[in-house]
Symmetry: C2
Subunit: 175 residues, 2 copies
Protein backbone atom coordinates (compact mmCIF):
# COMPACT_ATOMS: atom_id res chain seq x y z
CA UNK A 1 0.00 0.00 0.00
CA UNK A 2 1.21 3.45 -0.87
CA UNK A 3 1.01 5.98 1.96
CA UNK A 4 1.27 8.98 -0.36
CA UNK A 5 -1.73 11.27 -0.45
CA UNK A 6 -2.65 13.00 -3.68
CA UNK A 7 -1.79 16.70 -3.78
CA UNK A 8 -4.08 17.58 -6.67
CA UNK A 9 -6.86 20.14 -6.73
CA UNK A 10 -10.28 18.50 -6.73
CA UNK A 11 -13.61 20.31 -6.81
CA UNK A 12 -17.04 19.19 -5.76
CA UNK A 13 -18.82 17.88 -8.85
CA UNK A 14 -21.50 20.14 -10.27
CA UNK A 15 -23.35 20.42 -13.57
CA UNK A 16 -20.70 22.69 -15.08
CA UNK A 17 -17.46 20.85 -14.30
CA UNK A 18 -19.09 17.46 -14.90
CA UNK A 19 -20.36 18.52 -18.33
CA UNK A 20 -16.94 19.99 -19.13
CA UNK A 21 -15.26 16.71 -18.23
CA UNK A 22 -17.46 14.71 -20.60
CA UNK A 23 -17.27 17.26 -23.40
CA UNK A 24 -13.55 16.46 -23.47
CA UNK A 25 -14.24 12.73 -23.72
CA UNK A 26 -14.64 11.41 -27.29
CA UNK A 27 -17.47 9.04 -28.19
CA UNK A 28 -18.50 7.01 -31.21
CA UNK A 29 -21.76 8.35 -32.59
CA UNK A 30 -24.96 6.32 -32.87
CA UNK A 31 -28.55 6.98 -33.82
CA UNK A 32 -31.17 5.03 -31.87
CA UNK A 33 -34.57 4.45 -33.47
CA UNK A 34 -37.80 2.99 -32.13
CA UNK A 35 -41.55 2.94 -32.61
CA UNK A 36 -43.79 1.86 -29.72
CA UNK A 37 -46.89 2.29 -31.86
CA UNK A 38 -47.04 6.08 -31.52
CA UNK A 39 -44.80 6.77 -34.53
CA UNK A 40 -41.08 6.52 -35.32
CA UNK A 41 -38.47 8.39 -33.26
CA UNK A 42 -34.72 8.83 -33.63
CA UNK A 43 -32.07 10.09 -31.23
CA UNK A 44 -28.35 10.79 -31.72
CA UNK A 45 -26.33 9.39 -28.81
CA UNK A 46 -22.74 8.62 -27.86
CA UNK A 47 -23.77 6.60 -24.83
CA UNK A 48 -23.98 3.10 -26.37
CA UNK A 49 -21.51 0.54 -25.00
CA UNK A 50 -21.08 -3.20 -25.29
CA UNK A 51 -21.64 -4.86 -21.92
CA UNK A 52 -21.43 -8.60 -22.58
CA UNK A 53 -20.63 -10.80 -25.57
CA UNK A 54 -22.17 -14.05 -24.27
CA UNK A 55 -25.03 -13.27 -24.32
CA UNK A 56 -24.61 -10.22 -26.59
CA UNK A 57 -25.84 -7.21 -24.59
CA UNK A 58 -25.39 -3.46 -24.61
CA UNK A 59 -26.22 -0.47 -22.47
CA UNK A 60 -27.41 3.00 -23.51
CA UNK A 61 -29.05 5.97 -21.88
CA UNK A 62 -31.71 8.43 -22.95
CA UNK A 63 -32.12 11.87 -21.38
CA UNK A 64 -35.48 13.18 -20.26
CA UNK A 65 -34.69 16.31 -22.28
CA UNK A 66 -35.05 14.50 -25.61
CA UNK A 67 -38.46 14.30 -27.23
CA UNK A 68 -37.60 10.79 -28.46
CA UNK A 69 -36.98 9.39 -24.99
CA UNK A 70 -40.52 8.39 -23.94
CA UNK A 71 -40.83 6.20 -27.05
CA UNK A 72 -37.30 4.76 -26.68
CA UNK A 73 -38.01 3.85 -23.07
CA UNK A 74 -41.44 2.39 -23.79
CA UNK A 75 -40.56 0.40 -26.91
CA UNK A 76 -39.91 -3.33 -26.57
CA UNK A 77 -37.21 -3.22 -29.25
CA UNK A 78 -34.79 -0.62 -30.61
CA UNK A 79 -32.35 -0.31 -33.50
CA UNK A 80 -28.89 1.16 -32.81
CA UNK A 81 -27.17 2.61 -35.90
CA UNK A 82 -23.36 2.99 -35.67
CA UNK A 83 -22.43 5.99 -37.78
CA UNK A 84 -19.59 6.54 -40.19
CA UNK A 85 -18.46 9.93 -41.45
CA UNK A 86 -20.72 9.56 -44.51
CA UNK A 87 -23.66 9.51 -42.08
CA UNK A 88 -22.90 12.96 -40.66
CA UNK A 89 -26.13 14.55 -41.93
CA UNK A 90 -28.15 11.84 -40.18
CA UNK A 91 -26.26 12.49 -36.93
CA UNK A 92 -27.16 16.17 -37.16
CA UNK A 93 -30.77 15.44 -38.13
CA UNK A 94 -31.38 13.18 -35.14
CA UNK A 95 -29.71 15.70 -32.81
CA UNK A 96 -31.81 18.69 -33.91
CA UNK A 97 -34.84 19.70 -31.88
CA UNK A 98 -38.16 20.47 -33.50
CA UNK A 99 -37.63 18.81 -36.87
CA UNK A 100 -39.40 15.77 -38.31
CA UNK A 101 -36.62 13.20 -38.38
CA UNK A 102 -38.65 11.02 -40.74
CA UNK A 103 -39.84 13.66 -43.21
CA UNK A 104 -37.60 12.41 -46.04
CA UNK A 105 -39.08 9.05 -46.95
CA UNK A 106 -36.12 8.13 -49.11
CA UNK A 107 -33.90 7.83 -46.04
CA UNK A 108 -35.68 5.20 -44.01
CA UNK A 109 -37.73 2.04 -44.13
CA UNK A 110 -38.95 -0.56 -41.66
CA UNK A 111 -37.70 -3.96 -40.70
CA UNK A 112 -40.18 -6.82 -41.09
CA UNK A 113 -40.50 -6.60 -37.29
CA UNK A 114 -41.60 -2.96 -37.62
CA UNK A 115 -38.68 -0.89 -36.30
CA UNK A 116 -37.76 2.20 -38.36
CA UNK A 117 -34.24 2.08 -39.81
CA UNK A 118 -32.08 4.47 -41.78
CA UNK A 119 -31.07 2.43 -44.82
CA UNK A 120 -27.72 4.05 -45.58
CA UNK A 121 -26.06 3.18 -42.28
CA UNK A 122 -23.74 0.20 -42.77
CA UNK A 123 -23.68 -1.15 -39.20
CA UNK A 124 -26.83 -1.66 -37.15
CA UNK A 125 -28.10 -3.88 -34.36
CA UNK A 126 -31.68 -4.65 -33.35
CA UNK A 127 -32.06 -5.13 -29.60
CA UNK A 128 -34.71 -6.02 -27.01
CA UNK A 129 -34.70 -3.95 -23.83
CA UNK A 130 -34.47 -6.19 -20.77
CA UNK A 131 -33.94 -3.64 -18.01
CA UNK A 132 -34.75 0.03 -17.43
CA UNK A 133 -33.14 1.97 -14.58
CA UNK A 134 -33.80 5.60 -13.65
CA UNK A 135 -30.60 7.63 -13.18
CA UNK A 136 -30.99 11.33 -12.41
CA UNK A 137 -32.60 13.01 -15.40
CA UNK A 138 -32.29 9.98 -17.65
CA UNK A 139 -33.13 6.32 -18.10
CA UNK A 140 -30.45 3.67 -18.54
CA UNK A 141 -31.54 0.82 -20.81
CA UNK A 142 -29.92 -2.60 -20.84
CA UNK A 143 -30.71 -4.54 -24.00
CA UNK A 144 -30.03 -7.91 -25.58
CA UNK A 145 -28.95 -8.03 -29.23
CA UNK A 146 -31.34 -9.84 -31.55
CA UNK A 147 -30.09 -9.20 -35.11
CA UNK A 148 -27.06 -7.59 -36.70
CA UNK A 149 -26.57 -5.87 -40.07
CA UNK A 150 -23.02 -5.16 -41.18
CA UNK A 151 -22.20 -4.19 -44.74
CA UNK A 152 -18.78 -5.33 -45.98
CA UNK A 153 -17.46 -1.81 -46.49
CA UNK A 154 -18.26 -0.68 -42.98
CA UNK A 155 -16.27 1.23 -40.40
CA UNK A 156 -13.00 2.49 -41.76
CA UNK A 157 -14.12 6.08 -41.06
CA UNK A 158 -16.30 5.98 -37.94
CA UNK A 159 -17.83 9.25 -36.80
CA UNK A 160 -16.67 10.57 -33.42
CA UNK A 161 -18.06 13.46 -31.36
CA UNK A 162 -15.62 15.42 -29.20
CA UNK A 163 -15.64 18.89 -27.67
CA UNK A 164 -18.74 19.86 -29.69
CA UNK A 165 -17.09 18.89 -32.98
CA UNK A 166 -17.58 15.97 -35.35
CA UNK A 167 -14.41 14.04 -36.14
CA UNK A 168 -13.29 11.52 -38.74
CA UNK A 169 -11.39 8.85 -36.80
CA UNK A 170 -10.16 7.33 -40.03
CA UNK A 171 -7.58 10.07 -40.42
CA UNK A 172 -6.18 9.84 -36.90
CA UNK A 173 -2.76 8.59 -35.98
CA UNK A 174 -2.40 4.95 -34.90
CA UNK A 175 -0.05 4.89 -31.90
Amino acid sequence: MNPTTAMEVWQAADAENFACLFRAQPGGVTVITADDGSGPVALTATSVSSVSVVPPMLVLSASDRSSATPTIVAAETLVVHFLDVVDLELAKLAATSGVDRFADRRLWSRLPSGEPIYDSVARKVRVRTVDRVRAGGATVLIAQALDVHSAPSAASHPLVYHDRTWRDLGDSYVI
Copy 2:
Protein backbone atom coordinates in the same frame (compact mmCIF):
# COMPACT_ATOMS: atom_id res chain seq x y z
CA MET B 1 -45.74 6.10 -42.07
CA ASN B 2 -43.49 4.54 -44.65
CA PRO B 3 -44.69 1.22 -46.03
CA THR B 4 -41.30 0.24 -47.43
CA THR B 5 -39.71 -2.85 -45.93
CA ALA B 6 -35.94 -2.98 -45.55
CA MET B 7 -34.18 -5.22 -48.08
CA GLU B 8 -30.94 -5.56 -46.16
CA VAL B 9 -29.26 -8.73 -44.99
CA TRP B 10 -29.57 -9.17 -41.24
CA GLN B 11 -28.18 -12.07 -39.21
CA ALA B 12 -29.15 -13.39 -35.81
CA ALA B 13 -26.84 -11.80 -33.24
CA ASP B 14 -24.15 -14.06 -31.84
CA ALA B 15 -20.89 -13.52 -29.95
CA GLU B 16 -18.90 -13.22 -33.16
CA ASN B 17 -20.88 -10.69 -35.17
CA PHE B 18 -21.73 -8.69 -32.04
CA ALA B 19 -18.09 -8.41 -31.01
CA CYS B 20 -17.19 -7.48 -34.58
CA LEU B 21 -19.78 -4.70 -34.57
CA PHE B 22 -18.37 -3.14 -31.39
CA ARG B 23 -14.75 -3.56 -32.44
CA ALA B 24 -15.59 -1.16 -35.27
CA GLN B 25 -17.06 1.36 -32.81
CA PRO B 26 -14.54 3.86 -31.38
CA GLY B 27 -14.51 4.67 -27.69
CA GLY B 28 -12.73 7.10 -25.43
CA VAL B 29 -10.43 5.23 -23.07
CA THR B 30 -10.72 5.33 -19.28
CA VAL B 31 -9.08 3.57 -16.37
CA ILE B 32 -11.33 2.81 -13.41
CA THR B 33 -9.76 2.37 -9.98
CA ALA B 34 -11.16 1.24 -6.64
CA ASP B 35 -10.24 -0.29 -3.31
CA ASP B 36 -12.94 -1.97 -1.23
CA GLY B 37 -10.45 -2.73 1.53
CA SER B 38 -8.94 -5.74 -0.23
CA GLY B 39 -6.31 -3.72 -2.10
CA PRO B 40 -6.27 -1.38 -5.10
CA VAL B 41 -7.51 -2.48 -8.53
CA ALA B 42 -7.49 -0.84 -11.95
CA LEU B 43 -9.34 -1.64 -15.16
CA THR B 44 -9.10 -0.13 -18.65
CA ALA B 45 -12.57 0.46 -20.11
CA THR B 46 -14.27 2.29 -22.95
CA SER B 47 -17.72 1.82 -21.46
CA VAL B 48 -18.03 5.02 -19.39
CA SER B 49 -20.79 7.42 -20.46
CA SER B 50 -22.39 10.51 -19.01
CA VAL B 51 -26.03 9.84 -18.16
CA SER B 52 -27.29 12.98 -16.44
CA VAL B 53 -25.86 16.42 -15.70
CA VAL B 54 -28.34 17.44 -12.96
CA PRO B 55 -27.51 15.51 -10.84
CA PRO B 56 -24.15 14.59 -12.39
CA MET B 57 -24.27 10.82 -13.04
CA LEU B 58 -22.50 8.31 -15.25
CA VAL B 59 -22.83 4.67 -16.24
CA LEU B 60 -20.08 2.07 -16.75
CA SER B 61 -19.85 -1.69 -16.98
CA ALA B 62 -17.36 -4.24 -15.73
CA SER B 63 -17.01 -7.71 -17.23
CA ASP B 64 -16.88 -10.83 -15.09
CA ARG B 65 -13.75 -11.77 -17.03
CA SER B 66 -11.67 -9.01 -15.44
CA SER B 67 -9.89 -9.72 -12.16
CA ALA B 68 -10.63 -6.14 -11.05
CA THR B 69 -14.40 -6.50 -11.38
CA PRO B 70 -15.28 -7.97 -7.94
CA THR B 71 -13.61 -5.01 -6.23
CA ILE B 72 -15.10 -2.46 -8.63
CA VAL B 73 -18.58 -3.87 -8.04
CA ALA B 74 -18.17 -4.09 -4.27
CA ALA B 75 -16.54 -0.70 -3.68
CA GLU B 76 -18.72 2.18 -2.47
CA THR B 77 -16.72 4.69 -4.52
CA LEU B 78 -14.63 4.62 -7.71
CA VAL B 79 -12.33 6.95 -9.60
CA VAL B 80 -12.70 7.20 -13.39
CA HIS B 81 -9.56 8.44 -15.18
CA PHE B 82 -10.11 9.90 -18.69
CA LEU B 83 -6.97 9.15 -20.68
CA ASP B 84 -5.01 11.27 -23.09
CA VAL B 85 -2.46 9.95 -25.55
CA VAL B 86 0.33 10.60 -23.04
CA ASP B 87 -1.37 8.05 -20.77
CA LEU B 88 -1.05 5.20 -23.28
CA GLU B 89 1.23 3.09 -21.09
CA LEU B 90 -1.29 3.26 -18.25
CA ALA B 91 -4.06 2.14 -20.62
CA LYS B 92 -1.98 -0.88 -21.58
CA LEU B 93 -0.98 -1.62 -17.98
CA ALA B 94 -4.57 -1.70 -16.74
CA ALA B 95 -5.60 -3.85 -19.71
CA THR B 96 -2.93 -6.51 -19.21
CA SER B 97 -3.78 -9.69 -17.31
CA GLY B 98 -1.56 -11.07 -14.59
CA VAL B 99 0.50 -7.98 -13.84
CA ASP B 100 0.53 -5.91 -10.66
CA ARG B 101 -1.03 -2.65 -11.81
CA PHE B 102 0.27 -0.88 -8.69
CA ALA B 103 3.84 -2.21 -8.63
CA ASP B 104 5.37 1.15 -9.60
CA ARG B 105 4.76 3.35 -6.58
CA ARG B 106 5.77 6.50 -8.42
CA LEU B 107 2.66 6.29 -10.60
CA TRP B 108 -0.12 6.37 -8.06
CA SER B 109 -1.24 7.74 -4.72
CA ARG B 110 -4.44 7.87 -2.72
CA LEU B 111 -7.09 10.51 -2.29
CA PRO B 112 -7.76 11.61 1.31
CA SER B 113 -10.91 9.48 0.98
CA GLY B 114 -8.75 6.42 0.22
CA GLU B 115 -9.28 5.69 -3.47
CA PRO B 116 -6.14 4.86 -5.50
CA ILE B 117 -5.45 7.33 -8.31
CA TYR B 118 -2.88 7.58 -11.07
CA ASP B 119 -1.38 11.02 -10.57
CA SER B 120 -0.40 11.80 -14.15
CA VAL B 121 -3.91 11.64 -15.60
CA ALA B 122 -5.25 15.16 -16.13
CA ARG B 123 -8.99 14.46 -15.98
CA LYS B 124 -10.57 12.33 -13.24
CA VAL B 125 -13.89 12.02 -11.43
CA ARG B 126 -14.64 10.36 -8.10
CA VAL B 127 -18.07 8.73 -8.02
CA ARG B 128 -20.36 6.86 -5.62
CA THR B 129 -22.11 3.81 -7.06
CA VAL B 130 -25.87 4.10 -6.56
CA ASP B 131 -27.12 1.14 -8.61
CA ARG B 132 -25.74 -2.22 -9.74
CA VAL B 133 -27.52 -4.24 -12.45
CA ARG B 134 -26.49 -7.65 -13.74
CA ALA B 135 -26.36 -7.83 -17.56
CA GLY B 136 -25.20 -11.10 -19.10
CA GLY B 137 -21.58 -11.66 -18.13
CA ALA B 138 -21.12 -8.21 -16.65
CA THR B 139 -22.38 -5.72 -14.09
CA VAL B 140 -23.64 -2.28 -15.08
CA LEU B 141 -22.90 0.38 -12.47
CA ILE B 142 -24.73 3.68 -12.21
CA ALA B 143 -22.81 6.24 -10.18
CA GLN B 144 -23.15 9.79 -8.95
CA ALA B 145 -20.20 12.18 -9.37
CA LEU B 146 -18.71 13.48 -6.12
CA ASP B 147 -15.50 15.32 -7.05
CA VAL B 148 -13.78 16.35 -10.27
CA HIS B 149 -10.12 16.96 -11.07
CA SER B 150 -9.30 18.67 -14.35
CA ALA B 151 -5.85 20.06 -15.07
CA PRO B 152 -5.79 23.14 -17.32
CA SER B 153 -3.85 21.43 -20.09
CA ALA B 154 -6.26 18.54 -20.41
CA ALA B 155 -7.81 16.85 -23.36
CA SER B 156 -6.50 18.16 -26.64
CA HIS B 157 -5.25 14.67 -27.49
CA PRO B 158 -7.69 12.18 -25.96
CA LEU B 159 -6.90 8.49 -26.36
CA VAL B 160 -9.36 6.46 -28.43
CA TYR B 161 -9.56 2.67 -28.88
CA HIS B 162 -10.84 1.37 -32.23
CA ASP B 163 -10.50 -1.93 -34.08
CA ARG B 164 -7.86 -3.16 -31.63
CA THR B 165 -5.70 -0.05 -32.14
CA TRP B 166 -4.96 2.99 -30.00
CA ARG B 167 -5.66 6.31 -31.72
CA ASP B 168 -4.77 9.95 -31.16
CA LEU B 169 -7.98 11.86 -31.76
CA GLY B 170 -6.09 15.15 -31.68
CA ASP B 171 -4.81 14.52 -35.19
CA SER B 172 -8.17 13.69 -36.71
CA TYR B 173 -10.02 15.82 -39.21
CA VAL B 174 -12.77 18.10 -37.92
CA ILE B 175 -15.70 17.86 -40.31
